[in-house]
Structures are given as C-alpha cells and as structure tokens.
Symmetry: C2
C-alpha cells in the first residue's frame, strides 16, 4: 500500500458487554467504575465505563490494520474527552495529514454512536 | 514447626466482592456465570459464583500458610460440591491424617458460612 497525504481510513467497534472486564484482566485496571455497574451509578455514571486506554487501543488498531503492520505505529497520543459506555459503538476515522522524514502523521476522529468525540487531538505517527 | 499426625490448622476467607473478576483476569476463566450477575440469575444461580479453582486456591493457601512454604505443597485434589457465591465466607480446617515417606497427608474440610461443604474429599500432601 502506498501511503499518501490526504488518504483516509475507518474502523468501527461495538464495545462488547464484557470488554471492560477483559481489559481489566489485561491491564490490571480494576477500578470499580470499570467493573461494577452499581458503583458506576453511585458516582453519577450511567453504569460502568470503558478504560480510556482501551478506547485508545481501538483507535490504534484501526491505524495498524490500515498500515498492515503493528510495528509501523511509532507514536499515538490523545486527550480523553468523554466516557465510553459499555455497548457504545466507536467509529474511528484517520486522515494522513503530513508526510515527512519517512513518517506519515495521521489525525484521527474517534466518536461514539451519537457523534460525540470520546477522544480528542488523536495523533499518530506511522512509518512509511 | 514440627508436623505431627492429628495436628490441625484453620483458615478463613470472606470472598471479596470483586474476587471472581480478579480471578477471571488471573485465570482466563471469564465464563459469564462468574462475571455477569444477570446471566447468573438467568441460569438459576443467585448471581455470580466464584470459580471452583479459586475456592481450591483458598484451601491450598491455608495449607501453605500453615506449612510455611508454598513449595512444600506437593499435591492437592478435591471434588467441587456446591457453588460459592460472592461475599460468602469460606472456612477451611486441615488435619494431618497420615505421615509416611517424608510426606504428611492432610484432609481438609471446606465449608461456607452455613456449614455447607463447598469442596469435598479435599486431600493434600505436604513435604515434611
């Protein structure tokens, strides 16, 4: 695949009912807001929320699926802007915004099913 | 510690609210009966139940705490006889029933707060 400025790609992920539990096991992040719906409600969330780094992982996977090789993703960063609830659907769109020194800079939009940005300022660098 | 036939020891463990979730992460056993109270109710359990091997681990830890060294526990086996619910209290009592060829055989009673045996025929071998 030839990577060019302006190129776009997309990904979509419905958050599995048990994803926050699986991610708790994988990451060690067992904060009750991720694993206990009653606790989530008690602190004003509408149940449990997904770990932010898991949402970022969905975004990263969209990039690596597009790039064809996980090793090509050299950097990714974001701001966590809104909680992702269990069974939300996360849509990712990436755009190559710059090509320089063997790297493509990719800006990503990451939104839930209501179009709300759950991550902001999502920038990745991909080796080309 | 000198281990002698007839010697007894005990252990007690209140099953943490999140223990089945932690054990799911540790063991990979994410069966919904262990992590999803609604699913548990749907299949006729009163919520989620603890992984049987986690209950056996409580019994094993009682033995190794008594023996003073995890490496001294050479064998343990049991029959899983009743489900352990989240927030049950598990009481373990061990008795040295035989000493032979450098090993102590320990028979264990493992019951919940109602005195119901949650494990049966629990036998361990400890190096002496």
């Amino acid at each position: 695949m030839k990577i060019e400025q302006g190129q776009t790609f997309t990904g979509i992920e419905k958050v599995d009912k048990y994803r926050a539990l699986y991610y708790a096991g994988a990451s060690g992040d067992y904060n009750p807001i991720h694993i206990d719906p009653d606790f989530g409600k008690m602190v004003g969330l509408n149940g449990t929320i997904l770990q932010g780094l898991c949402t970022l992982a969905f975004a990263a996977k969209t990039v690596t699926d597009w790039a064809g090789d996980p090793g090509k993703l050299k950097k990714i960063k974001c701001r966590f802007s809104a909680p992702v609830m269990i069974e939300d659907t996360i849509s990712v769109q990436g755009t190559v915004t710059e090509m320089q020194a063997g790297r493509a800079r990719v800006d990503l939009s990451v939104v839930n099913q209501s179009g709300e940005e759950v991550l902001q300022k999502v920038e990745a660098e991909v080796e080309i």
